[in-house]
C-alpha cells in the first residue's frame, strides 16, 4: 500500500493486503509491506473484490464501494475527488494526509477505508462554513503558517486535533504535538503561532 514494492524488492510471491491483515492482525504492519512472507499462498494475488461501506465525509453520508486495499486518503482523493487532502509520502511519515476520523487525527495514507465502515471523517474542505473560515484557517493566513501550502491541509487538521486533545497549552507543547507534520518550506514558527492563536480563541 505504501509504495511500489518493485522499487526495492526482487519479484516474488506477493500477498494481498487482506492476507497481510490476516497474517499480522494489525494495520501497522502494512507500513512494511511487502514482506516476502512464507504465508503467501500462490502466485501474485491480483484478483480483487470490493467492499461496500458507509462513511460520513464532512457531514455528508457516502455509500462507497471500495477496493479493500484503498486507504482513506486514496478514497478521498481518487474516489470522491476531495483533493484538498494531500499525499506527501504515503509512508505515514510526513503528515500531509492528516484528517480527523471520528474526531481523532490520523494519517489517512496508512488507514484502510475498509476498516472504518461507519466512520465520521472531516477534511480540510469541510472547515469553512457558509463562506466563513474556521479560526484556525484564518490564523494560518494571518501568521504565515504556510508557504507552498501543500502541507497546510494536514497541518490545519492536525492543529485541530492538537487543540482538541488539549496539547496547545504553550508554544513548546504545540511544537511537540505538531511534529508529526513536516513543512519543508519551514513555516513552523507561523504554524505554532497560528495554533496558539486559534487555541486561545476557542
Amino acid at each position: 500500500m505504501t509504495e511500489n514494492p518493485s522499487e526495492s524488492h526482487p519479484p516474488g510471491p506477493i500477498m494481498s493486503r487482506r492476507e497481510t491483515l490476516q497474517a499480522t492482525a494489525g494495520a501497522v504492519a502494512l507500513a512494511a509491506l511487502p514482506p516476502l512472507s512464507a504465508t503467501a499462498t500462490s502466485a501474485p494475488a491480483l484478483d480483487t473484490n470490493t467492499v461496500t461501506l458507509t462513511m460520513t465525509v464532512n457531514g455528508r453520508a457516502q455509500t462507497l464501494s471500495v477496493d479493500p486495499r484503498q486507504s482513506i486518503l486514496d478514497v478521498l482523493r481518487e474516489t470522491l475527488n476531495l483533493t484538498g487532502t494531500k499525499k506527501g509520502c504515503n509512508q505515514g511519515a510526513c503528515g500531509a494526509c492528516t484528517v480527523l476520523v471520528d474526531g481523532r487525527r490520523i494519517v489517512s495514507c496508512l488507514t484502510l477505508a475498509s476498516m472504518h465502515d461507519g466512520a465520521q471523517i472531516e477534511t480540510i474542505e469541510g472547515l469553512e462554513k457558509d463562506g466563513v473560515l474556521h479560526p484556525l484557517q484564518e490564523a494560518f493566513v494571518e501568521h504565515e503558517g504556510l508557504q507552498c501550502g501543500f502541507c497546510t491541509p494536514g497541518q490545519i487538521m492536525s492543529g485541530l486535533g492538537c487543540i482538541a486533545e488539549g496539547h496547545a497549552g504553550s508554544p513548546e507543547e504545540i511544537q511537540f504535538w505538531m511534529s508529526g507534520n513536516i513543512c519543508r518550506c519551514g513555516a513552523y514558527p507561523g504554524i505554532v503561532a497560528a495554533v496558539a492563536d486559534a487555541a486561545g480563541r476557542t
Binding site: 511500489n4 501474485p44 510526513c94 500531509a96 494560518f140 501543500f150 513552523y188
Partner: protein
C-alpha cells in the same frame, strides 16, 4: 495610494485557497475518464533489462497497458536544452532501450483503471536484469575526476586565478589547508512530482508540477516532435520544489507517452521513494580550501578546489567555487572545479546550488583561520572587506556585508561571546556561537508580462511564472498595484500557464527581479495606452490634450499639476468596453551587467547547545541580517529567511542521502529516514534586513532572497559547534558521534 504597496507586509492573496484545500496542485487535476500510471523502477544499479513478464500482469484486474522498451513508441527526442539543463551530455531517454544506467531508472510503466490496480500490477511485474556493480561513491579510488567540458563557457564555473595563490599560501605566516565534505541531499518537497497528461488529437495538455512551464512545454514538444504550441502546461500551485522541478524529468514524458498509448488522460504521481531516483539531488561534494594570512589577519592567498558528483550521461555543474574570488579582498586567489561521473541519475540545482556547499567550506576555513590568528571571526572579515569585486575589477552595485554583520551582531548579542572554545556553558550544556557570511548573485533574466485593464476596473496581470511558496502571487500583485496605482484588491495576478507571456525559470532568486520588472514595464505601457485612448475620446475631459501634459497618479489620469479628480482606468475603458492590453518584456541592460558586480550579502549567527555526555546538538537560535536591496513584502521575506534557516539546520545536522555501494540504492529513501527538521527542532529564528538602495540592479531595486536565505546557515552552525566543543567537524551533516569525544 499615498503609501507604497512595495514594502508593505501584506498577507498572501492565495492564503484562503491554501487553507481551504481549494489550491490545486498537479495531482489534484483529476480528469474525466482518467487512468493511472505507476512507474516500475530498476532494482539494479547498472546493466540491462533482459526480460519483462508483462503478460502476467496485463491480465490482472483493471490493467490497460504495460509499457516497456519493447512496446513503447520510439520518440524523436529532438535536441533541446535550456539554461537549467547541463550544457554537456544528453538527457535520459525513457523506455527507448534496455539499458539501466542507475538504480531506480524507470524501466516499465503500468497503466490501469484505478490507482490500486496500477500499484498492484506494478508490484507484481517481474523484470529480469543482467547487472554489473555501479560506481556510486565519488571518493572511491576508481572514480575519476574530470574537467567539466563546459567549464570555460561561463565565468561562474571556470577555473579562475589571479596572482599566485599557491606560492602565497605556502609562504603565508598563518595557514589553513583543509578538506570539507558535504553529503548528497534530496530536495524532498512535500509535493511529489506529478503529471496529468491528456491528448486531444495532436495537442497535449499537461497539468504538471513545474518551476519552468515554458521550458516544460518546449522540452516535451521536442521529445515528441511537436510544435511547441501544441503543448500546454498548467501549474497554478507548486507544493515546494527547491529546484527539483526546474528540469522536465522522465516521468512527464512517461505520462504523455502512456496517455497517447491508451488514448485516455493519464495521471502519474511519483512515490516518495521515486523522488530519490530520477528527479535530481544536491550533489555530494568534496572541497579543499587553503587560506594564507599575515599575522594581522590580512588574506594573502586563497585556494578553493571543489569536486561535485554527476551522472555518466550528463555533466551537471553548479557554482561550487564561484563566490570565493569576490567575497574577500585578497591578491592571490585560485579556484578549480571538477566533476566525478558516477552511475547515478543526474544531480540538479537545489536551493543555493553550489554557493551553499561552497560557502560551507570557505566560511568554515575563515573561522578556522580566525582561531589560528586569535582574531574575532567578524573582525577577520572586516579586515578583508574589499572595496570592489577584485575578480572582475568592477564596483559592487551595492554591498552591505559589514552593515549586516553590525546589525546581526547587535541583535544576536555577539559581544557576550567569549572567544575561547568550550568557554561558554548553560548548566552542563556546552554553548557555542558561530557566524558566517552569506552571498548569492543578484541575477536577472529576460521576462515578459501582460496587463489587461478591464471595464469593471479590474486589472488582470499574467505571466508564465510560478509560485513554489515564496509568495509570487502576492508580491507580483503588490508590484502591479504599485505601478498602476490601484488597490491590490483590484489586481488579479495569474501565473502557472505556459501560454502566458514567457518568463525564466522560477529559481535562482530572480523571479521578483525578472518578472517584477516585466510587470512594471507592462503597467507603464498600459497606462500610456490608456492615456492615448483618453485623449482621443471626445467625451472625456482630457480630449485633445497632449499625453505629455498628462500624468497618472493613484490610478487616475490628470493634466499635470491639476487638482481635478481625474479619470480612472474604468472611466476610460468603460467608454468602449474594449480592454486596454499591454504586453512588455524587460531585461537587464548589458551595460549595467558590464559595469557592476551584483550580489546579495548577509551575515548569519547561530547558537548551539551541546550535551557533553551524549553529544546531542540543538540549535538554540539563529539571527540573519541581509542586504538584498528593496524588500517587496517584509512578511513574506521573513518567511523566506526563516524557512531558509530551517533548511540550513537540515543541511548542517540532518540531511544526507546514503547510497548502498553495491547497487546504488538510496537506503534512506523515506521521509522518516531522510532526516529533515520537524517543528520541535526549530529554535528562535530572526531575520533582519539592512536598508539598502541599489539603483543599478533593476528598476525595482530588488536583489533576490530565496537562495541567500539558506546560504550561510550551515557554516554558522558548524562554526558554533566548534566554539562549543573545540571539535572542528568538516563533513556535513554533523552527527552526534562527531562531537561525542570532544
Amino acid at each position: 495610494m499615498s503609501v507604497s504597496l512595495i514594502g508593505r507586509p501584506m498577507t498572501r492573496v492565495d492564503g484562503r485557497a491554501k487553507v481551504t484545500g481549494a489550491a490545486r496542485y498537479a495531482a489534484d487535476f483529476n480528469q474525466p475518464g482518467q487512468l493511472y500510471a505507476v512507474i516500475v523502477s530498476a532494482t539494479v544499479g547498472l546493466g540491462r533489462v533482459t526480460d519483462v513478464a508483462a503478460a502476467e500482469v496485463e491480465r490482472a484486474p483493471g490493467v490497460v497497458a504495460v509499457l516497456t522498451h519493447r512496446n513503447a513508441q520510439k520518440l524523436p527526442y529532438l535536441p533541446h536544452k535550456a539554461g537549467i539543463d547541463p550544457a554537456v551530455g544528453e538527457r535520459l531517454h525513457v523506455l527507448q532501450d534496455d539499458n539501466v544506467r542507475f538504480y531506480g531508472q524507470p524501466v516499465a510503466l503500468v497503466v490501469a483503471d484505478t490507482l490500486d490496480h496500477a500499484e498492484r500490477a506494478a508490484a507484481a511485474l517481474r523484470i529480469t536484469y543482467e547487472s554489473r556493480q555501479p560506481l556510486v561513491d565519488p571518493t572511491d579510488q576508481r572514480a575519476e575526476k574530470i574537467v567539466p567540458e563546459a567549464a570555460n563557457r561561463t565565468r561562474a564555473l571556470a577555473d579562475r586565478s589571479r596572482g599566485d595563490a599557491d606560492t602565497a599560501v605556502a609562504r603565508a605566516a598563518v595557514r589553513v589547508d583543509e578538506t570539507y565534505d558535504m553529503a548528497r541531499e534530496n530536495h524532498n518537497p512535500m509535493e511529489p512530482h506529478a503529471t496529468v497528461a491528456a491528448w486531444n488529437g495532436d495537442r497535449l495538455t499537461l497539468w504538471s508540477k513545474s518551476q519552468y512551464l515554458v521550458n516544460e512545454q518546449a522540452e516535451i514538444a521536442a521529445i515528441f516532435g511537436l510544435p511547441a504550441e501544441n503543448v500546454e502546461v498548467i501549474c497554478p500551485f507548486i507544493g515546494g520544489a527547491f529546484g527539483t522541478s526546474l528540469r522536465t524529468w522522465p516521468h512527464v514524458t512517461l505520462a504523455a507517452l502512456a496517455a497517447r498509448h491508451v488514448g485516455r488522460p493519464v495521471k502519474l504521481v511519483l512515490t516518495r521513494k521515486q523522488m530519490f531516483f530520477t528527479t535530481g539531488h544536491r550533489p555530494r561534494t568534496r572541497q579543499r580550501v587553503a587560506l594564507g594570512a599575515t599575522p594581522e589577519g590580512r588574506l594573502t592567498g586563497i585556494i578553493h578546489e571543489g569536486m561535485g558528483e554527476t551522472s555518466r550521461y550528463e555533466q551537471f555543474m553548479e557554482a561550487l567555487t564561484n563566490v570565493t574570488d569576490y567575497l574577500y579582498s585578497c591578491p592571490n586567489v585560485r579556484t578549480q572545479y571538477r566533476l566525478t561521473q558516477l552511475d547515478t541519475g543526474t544531480p540538479n540545482h537545489m536551493r543555493g546550488p553550489g554557493e551553499a556547499s561552497g560557502i560551507f567550506a570557505l566560511e568554515s576555513a575563515m573561522d578556522e583561520l580566525s582561531y589560528k590568528l586569535g582574531i574575532d571571526p567578524i573582525e577577520l572579515r572586516r579586515r578583508n572587506e574589499p572595496q570592489m569585486d577584485e575578480a572582475e575589477n568592477k564596483p559592487f552595485s551595492s554591498r552591505s556585508l559589514m552593515q549586516c554583520y553590525e546589525l546581526g551582531s547587535e541583535r544576536f548579542g555577539w559581544a557576550r561571546r567569549t572567544p575561547e572554545p568550550r568557554s561558554m556553558r548553560d548548566g552542563r550544556l556546552l554553548i557555542g556561537m558561530g557566524a558566517a557570511t552569506a552571498t548569492y548573485p543578484a541575477f536577472h533574466a529576460p521576462a515578459s508580462a501582460r496587463v489587461r485593464l478591464l471595464a469593471d476596473g479590474i486589472a488582470e496581470v499574467e505571466a508564465a511564472a510560478s509560485d513554489m511558496g515564496p509568495g509570487t502571487y502576492t508580491s507580483m500583485t503588490q508590484v502591479a498595484a504599485e505601478f498602476l496605482g490601484l488597490p491590490p484588491e483590484q489586481v488579479r495576478f495569474r501565473l502557472g500557464r505556459s501560454d502566458y507571456p514567457q518568463t525564466p525559470s522560477h529559481g535562482g532568486s530572480w523571479t521578483m527581479a525578472s518578472v517584477g520588472s516585466a510587470i512594471r514595464a507592462a503597467c507603464v505601457e498600459a497606462q500610456a495606452q490608456a492615456a492615448r485612448r483618453a485623449v482621443a475620446d471626445a467625451n472625456l475631459p482630457v480630449f485633445g490634450a497632449s499625453v505629455n501634459d498628462l500624468e497618472w497618479s493613484e490610478g487616475r489620469l490628470r493634466r499635470r499639476g491639476e487638482a481635478a479628480t481625474g479619470l480612472s482606468y474604468q472611466d476610460i475603458v468603460a467608454r468602449t468596453g474594449v480592454p486596454v492590453e499591454a504586453e512588455r518584456s524587460a531585461e537587464r541592460a548589458s551595460e549595467v551587467a558590464e559595469r557592476y558586480s551584483m550580489h546579495s550579502f548577509g551575515a548569519v549567527f547561530a547558537e548551539v547547545a551541546i550535551d557533553p555526555d551524549v553529544g546531542t546538538i540543538r540549535v538554540r537560535r539563529i539571527v540573519g541580517a541581509y542586504g538584498i536591496g528593496r524588500v517587496v513584502n517584509p512578511l513574506l521575506a521573513r518567511s523566506q529567511c526563516t524557512g531558509g534557516m530551517i533548511g540550513g539546520i537540515g543541511m548542517a545536522l540532518m540531511e544526507r542521502t546514503v547510497l548502498d555501494p553495491r547497487d546504488g540504492r538510496p537506503v534512506n529513501a523515506h521521509m522518516a529516514d531522510y532526516l529533515m527538521p520537524v517543528n520541535l527542532d526549530i529554535p528562535k529564528l530572526e531575520a533582519f534586513f539592512v536598508d539598502e538602495v541599489d539603483p543599478h540592479v533593476n528598476p525595482l531595486g530588488v536583489k533576490g532572497l530565496g537562495e541567500i536565505a539558506l546560504v550561510g546557515t550551515a557554516p554558522a552552525i558548524a562554526n558554533a559547534v566548534f566554539h562549543a566543543t573545540g571539535r572542528r567537524v568538516r563533513a556535513l551533516p554533523i552527527h552526534i558521534e562527531d562531537v561525542l569525544t570532544a
